[in-house]
Amino acid sequence: MVTLTINGQEHELDVPDQMPLLWAIRDVVQLTGTKFGCGMSLCGACTVHLDGEAIRSCVTPVSQAEGKSVTTIEAMSDDEVGRRVQQAWLDLGVAQCGYCQGGQIMSATALLKEHETPDDEQIMDAMGGNLCRCGTYNRIRQAIHRAAEQGEDQA
C-alpha cells in the first residue's frame, strides 16, 4: 500500500513501490492529463509537481512521492500562476495536437514560480526537456513571457 496525495486528495494505492508515479496517476487514480511520451525522462510529457517542483513522473517511483504533495495538470486552474499560464496558452493558440502541452504547462508554471520574469535563456533552460513534435516552441516561449507580464500587471 502506498499513500499518495494528489491534487490535495489522499489516495491509498495497492501498487508496487517501484511503479512509476506516471502509471499510478494514469492507470490507478485515473487522472489522464499526465501523458506518457518516452518513459525515460526524455520528453517531459509526464511532468507533474512534487512539492511544487517539476519532475518527470515516468521515472519517479511512487515510493518517492509518499508523504509529498503531487500536483497534476488537472489542478492547474486552481493555481494562480497555473491559471495565468493556461490563459496565455489559449491567448496565443499555443497547442496543436496538445498532447505535450500539459507537461509544457507544468514546466512553465514551475519556472514562473522560480523566476517571475524569466528571460529567453532561462526559458530555454527550463523548457529544454519538454519535447513538442508539433513544433510549438515559439509560441510556448511567447506565452511564458505573456504569462509573466500578466503576473506583473497583477502585482
Binding site: 501523458k35 520528453c43 488537472e74 496543436q96 495536437c97 500539459g102 513544433g135
Partner: protein, 780 residues
C-alpha cells in the same frame, strides 16, 4: 490519352472492388487503378475521386436543438491541424450560427455516411470546404423556409442573420432553436438552388482566431480553438485516456526484423511479475505487412507498468527465416549500394532535349549526391488503442487518421460484419502519417478476442514506436548539371533511388510509383533545355510508409540544395539564379510533363504555377532582408517547394558556432495555399513544419543493423527541442484569392526547410553538407 497505367496507386477500395490476385490485406488494397484506364472525360478528381467521395447532406453534419445549440459533426481526424475548429467555422459561418452556441461532435468511422474520412494528404479543407458550405447553406435555407411557412410570407423575404431568421419587411425574428423542429421536417433543397454567402458576409472564414488577435478594440467576434480549454486543463481525450473498469493493459514484443516470426517463447518469468494476467501470441501476416500487425508476444496485465515489466521478463527466440534478406539489412551499406547504383542509368521518368549532348558540351559539369535517411514519425502520443466486444460487436477507441480502414481491418480480423464494428476516433496526439496505419488497433482487436471481449488497451512504448514505425523511405538523389560559360543551366539529370511505399502492399515494385514521383521529382519546375529524370531500382527491407510530406522531403532537399550549388558555381546570387531557373511566370499543365498524379487534383484547376513559385520566393527573401550583411559565421539560406497544391519558400538566418552548435536566428516562410479558411492555424502549421524541418536537417535519423532498428528512444532518435527552434519565426501568407483552387496546409510547409538550412550553413561556413542529418558534421 487512353492508356492503362503501369504504376501502382494506393487506393482504399471498397470490398466489391477488390481484384482477386492483388494483395488484399485488410481492406486497404494496392491496386492498379483500373478506373484510370477510362477516357479522360470520365476521370474524377479531388474529393470526387476519393473512396466514398464527399457528402453534403445537412442532416449528416448539422443538428440544431430547440435550445438553439448547433452541433456540427466533424468527420476528419484532429491531430493538431485544427480541423475540428476550422471545418466547424465553415459550417457555422455559412449557417449564420453564433460561435458561442456551436459545438462539435466527432464522427465515428463510417464513410458510407460521411464520405471520405482518411485524414492524410493535406486534404481535409481542400476537399471539404465546398461540401461543408453546401451542407450549411442547405440547413440555413431550411430554417428560412420554416420561418416563411410559419409567418405565411414569401421565403424570399426571410433571411438568416446571426442565429435568427428575420422577416425583413416586418423585422420579425425567430431563433434557430425555435425553427429547428419545423426546419428538420423539410426536404433538403436541391444543390443547384443553394446560394452560398458572398465573401463579404463571412464572419469566421478567413478571420484570425484567438483573442490575441482580438486586441486593439477589434469588435469582430472570432472563434477560439474548439479543444483549447480541454487541452490546457488536461481534460482532452486522447487514445489512452478512455477508461473501462474491467480493462486489461497490454504491451507487445514484436519481431525486431521485418517479417520474422516467433520461434519460441519462455514466459515463466513474465508470468511471475505481479499484475501480469496472461501472455498471448499475436499472429502477424508476414510480408507485405500492409496495415496488419507484425505479430509477436503480448503481455496482458492489470496496468501498463506490469505489462511493460512482464515484457522485459520475456525470453523470445525469433525466427528470421521468413524475413529473408531483411535480417541482413544494414542501412550504412544500403546507402553505399544506392550511391553506387545512382552512377548508372535507371527507368526513365522524364526526358526532354538531349541530355548527353548538353553534358558533353557544357563549360562546367556539376555533380552532387544527396542522402536522406530513414525517419520515424514519432508522434508525441505513441500508438495506442482500446477494443472491446459487447454482445458480439466490436467497439474501438483509438487515435486513427483512417477510421474506415481501421473498421474494415477490425471486422476482418475478428470475423465480424463491418456493421458490427464501431470506431470512435479520439483526439490524436500527433499523426504525421503514422496513425493512418491501424496495425496497433488490430493488435488490440486480436487480444480482446482472447479475453471474451474484455476491453484491452494496447500501449506502444516509445521504443516500440521507433522500432516499428512505417519508416520514411531512405533516399539517394544524384544530380548533374551542365552549365554554359555564363553559368546558365543547359542540362539537368536527376536520378532518385528510394524504396517504394508500394512494397508495403504488394511484392516490392523496386521503383517509385506515380504518387511518389509526383511529389516533387517529375514536377521539377526549372526551365532547362535538356532534362532527364531517372529512377533506378531500390528495394525495401523495413516497413516503408508515409511521413508528413513523404517523398517531397528528399526530392526538395536534393533539388533545392543542388540549385544553390549551381548558383554558387556560377558565382550568382542564389535567389536571382533560382528565379532565372524558373523562368517567367506561367502555368504548366502537369500532363505536359507526364505528371499523372497531381495529388489527385484536376490538372486544369491545379496547374503547376511558376508565377506562384516566384511570388513565394520574392516574398520570403524580401521579408528576410535577403542580401543583408551578416557577421562572420552567419548566413541566409533559401529554398522553395511546391507540394499538395500549395507553394512555400523559406529563408533561414543561421549561425554556426566553432563547436558546431547551430542557432537559427530568424525564419521567414512565405506560403500560398490560395484561399485561407483559418489563417491563424495555417501559420501554426507552417511554424510547426519549420521546427520539424530543422530537426530533419539536424538530427533525425533511423538506422538499421542486422535488420534491427538501432534507435531506442529520444536520446538516439533526436527531435527538435526549444533551443533548436528559430529565435524569431515569421509566416507570411499570400494570395488569399477566392478564385484560386485551394491547396493543402499540413504538409507543404515541411519540404523546403531542410535544404534552406543546409543552404544557410553553406552561406555561413562555406561547408556544403549532402548527407542528412548534419549536426555532427558542423564543427570546424
Amino acid at each position: 490519352m487512353n492508356r492503362l497505367r503501369d504504376d501502382l496507386m494506393l487506393a482504399n477500395v471498397s470490398r466489391r472492388h477488390v481484384l482477386k490476385g492483388l494483395a488484399a490485406s485488410g481492406a486497404l488494397v494496392i491496386a492498379a487503378r483500373w478506373d484510370w484506364a477510362l477516357a479522360d472525360e470520365e476521370a474524377a478528381y479531388g474529393a470526387e475521386a476519393m473512396p466514398h467521395g464527399w457528402v453534403d447532406d445537412p442532416n449528416v453534419f448539422i443538428r440544431i436543438d430547440e435550445d438553439g445549440t448547433v452541433t456540427v459533426t466533424n468527420h476528419r481526424a484532429e491531430m493538431g491541424q485544427g480541423i475540428r475548429t476550422s471545418l466547424v467555422m465553415v459550417a457555422a459561418d455559412e449557417l449564420g450560427a453564433d460561435w458561442d452556441r456551436v459545438r462539435v461532435d466527432q464522427a465515428p468511422g463510417d464513410e458510407e455516411k460521411y464520405g471520405n474520412q482518411n485524414t492524410d494528404g493535406s486534404r481535409s479543407m481542400r476537399h471539404w470546404f465546398d461540401p461543408m458550405r453546401r451542407a450549411a447553406a442547405a440547413a440555413r435555407t431550411m430554417l428560412e423556409q420554416a420561418a416563411a411557412e410559419q409567418w405565411e410570407v414569401p421565403v424570399s423575404e426571410c433571411r438568416a442573420g446571426v442565429h435568427v431568421v428575420v422577416h425583413e419587411p416586418s423585422g420579425r425574428e425567430s431563433g434557430f432553436g425555435e425553427l429547428a423542429a419545423a426546419a428538420s421536417q423539410r426536404a433538403v433543397p436541391e444543390r443547384d438552388s443553394l446560394s452560398l454567402k458572398p465573401r463579404e458576409e463571412w464572419r469566421y472564414i478567413g478571420q484570425e482566431t484567438g483573442p490575441s488577435q482580438h486586441a486593439e478594440g477589434d469588435e469582430v467576434e472570432r472563434p477560439l480553438a474548439i479543444d483549447g480549454e480541454d487541452i490546457v486543463t488536461g481534460t482532452a481525450v486522447y487514445g489512452a485516456d478512455v477508461h473501462f473498469d474491467d480493462m486489461l493493459y497490454a504491451v507487445v514484443a514484436r519481431p525486431p526484423v521485418y517479417g520474422a516470426t516467433v520461434a519460441s517463447v519462455d514466459d515463466s518469468e513474465a508470468m511471475g511479475v505481479p499484475g501480469v494476467v496472461r501472455v498471448v501470441q499475436i499472429e502477424g501476416t508476414g510480408q507485405p505487412a500492409a496495415f496488419e500487425p507484425l505479430g509477436g508476444v503480448a503481455v496482458v496485465a492489470e496496468n501498463t507498468w506490469a505489462a511493460i515489466q512482464g515484457r522485459d521478463a520475456l525470453s523470445i527466440e525469433w525466427d528470421n527465416e521468413p524475413a529473408g534478406d531483411n535480417a541482413a539489412y544494414d542501412s550504412e551499406s544500403y546507402r553505399e549500394a544506392l550511391e553506387a547504383a545512382a552512377e548508372s542509368a535507371g527507368k526513365v521518368i522524364r526526358d526532354e532535349g538531349d541530355i548527353e549532348t548538353a553534358l558533353a558540351d557544357a563549360e562546367t559539369n556539376l555533380t552532387a549526391t544527396y542522402y536522406m535517411p530513414h525517419m520515424a514519425q514519432a508522434p508525441m502520443e505513441p500508438p495506442v488503442a482500446i477494443v472491446r466486444l459487447v454482445d458480439g460487436k466490436a467497439e474501438v477507441w483509438a487515435p486513427v487518421q483512417n477510421p474506415q480502414a481501421t473498421r474494415e481491418g477490425v471486422a476482418e480480423r475478428l470475423g465480424l460484419d463491418f456493421a458490427d464494428v464501431t470506431v470512435n476516433v479520439t483526439l490524436l496526439g500527433g499523426g504525421f502519417g503514422r496513425k493512418s496505419k491501424p496495425d496497433f488497433v488490430l493488435e488490440a482487436a486480436s487480444l480482446t478476442g482472447e479475453f471474451d471481449g474484455r476491453p484491452v488497451r494496447v500501449q506502444w512504448t516509445r521504443e516500440d514506436d521507433l522500432h516499428h514505425a512505417y519508416f520514411h523511405a531512405v533516399s539517394v538523389d544524384r544530380l548533374e548539371a551542365a552549365l554554359d560559360s555564363e553559368g546558365r543551366a543547359q542540362g539537368w539529370r536527376h536520378r532518385t533511388l528510394s524504396p517504394s511505399i508500394g512494397s508495403l502492399f504488394a511484392p516490392d515494385p523496386e521503383h517509385k510509383g506515380d504518387f511518389e514521383l509526383g511529389m516533387g521529382f517529375n514536377t521539377m519546375p526549372f526551365d532547362i533545355p535538356a532534362i532527364r529524370l531517372e529512377n533506378p531500382e531500390a528495394s525495401a527491407h523495413v516497413r516503408i510508409g508515409w511521413f508528413r510530406s513523404v517523398y517531397n522531403l528528399p526530392h526538395a532537399y536534393a533539388i533545392q540544395s543542388f540549385a544553390a550549388e549551381m548558383a554558387a558555381q556560377a558565382g550568382r546570387d542564389h535567389r536571382d539564379y533560382l528565379l532565372e531557373l524558373l523562368g517567367p511566370a506561367r502555368r504548366i499543365d502537369p500532363r505536359e510533363i507526364d505528371e499523372r498524379w497531381n495529388y489527385g487534383e484536376n490538372p486544369e484547376r491545379y496547374p503547376i504555377d511558376i508565377g506562384r513559385m516566384r511570388a513565394v520566393i520574392e516574398k520570403a527573401t524580401e521579408e528576410a532582408g535577403w542580401g543583408r550583411e551578416l557577421p562572420e559565421g552567419r548566413g541566409l539560406g533559401l529554398a522553395f517547394h511546391h507540394s499538395f497544391a500549395s507553394y512555400t519558400a523559406v529563408v533561414l538566418d543561421v549561425e554556426v558556432e566553432d563547436d558546431g552548435n547551430l542557432i537559427v536566428h530568424n525564419a521567414d516562410m512565405a506560403f500560398d495555399c490560395g484561399p485561407q479558411v483559418n489563417p491563424e492555424r495555417i501559420r501554426a502549421q507552417l511554424e510547426g513544419s519549420c521546427v520539424m524541418g530543422i530537426g530533419i536537417a539536424l538530427h533525425s535519423e533511423i538506422t538499421a543493423s542486422e535488420g534491427k532498428i538501432e534507435q531506442n528512444n529520444f536520446h538516439q532518435f533526436e527531435i527538435p527541442r526549444m533551443p533548436h527552434a528559430p529565435r524569431a519565426m515569421r509566416v507570411h501568407l499570400i494570395n488569399d484569392d477566392p478564385d484560386v483552387a485551394m491547396g493543402g496546409v499540413g504538409e507543404p510547409g515541411l519540404p523546403p526547410v531542410a535544404p534552406a538550412l543546409c543552404n544557410a550553413v553553406y552561406a555561413a561556413t562555406g561547408k556544403r553538407i549532402r548527407r542528412l542529418p548534419i549536426a555532427d558534421q558542423l564543427a570546424s
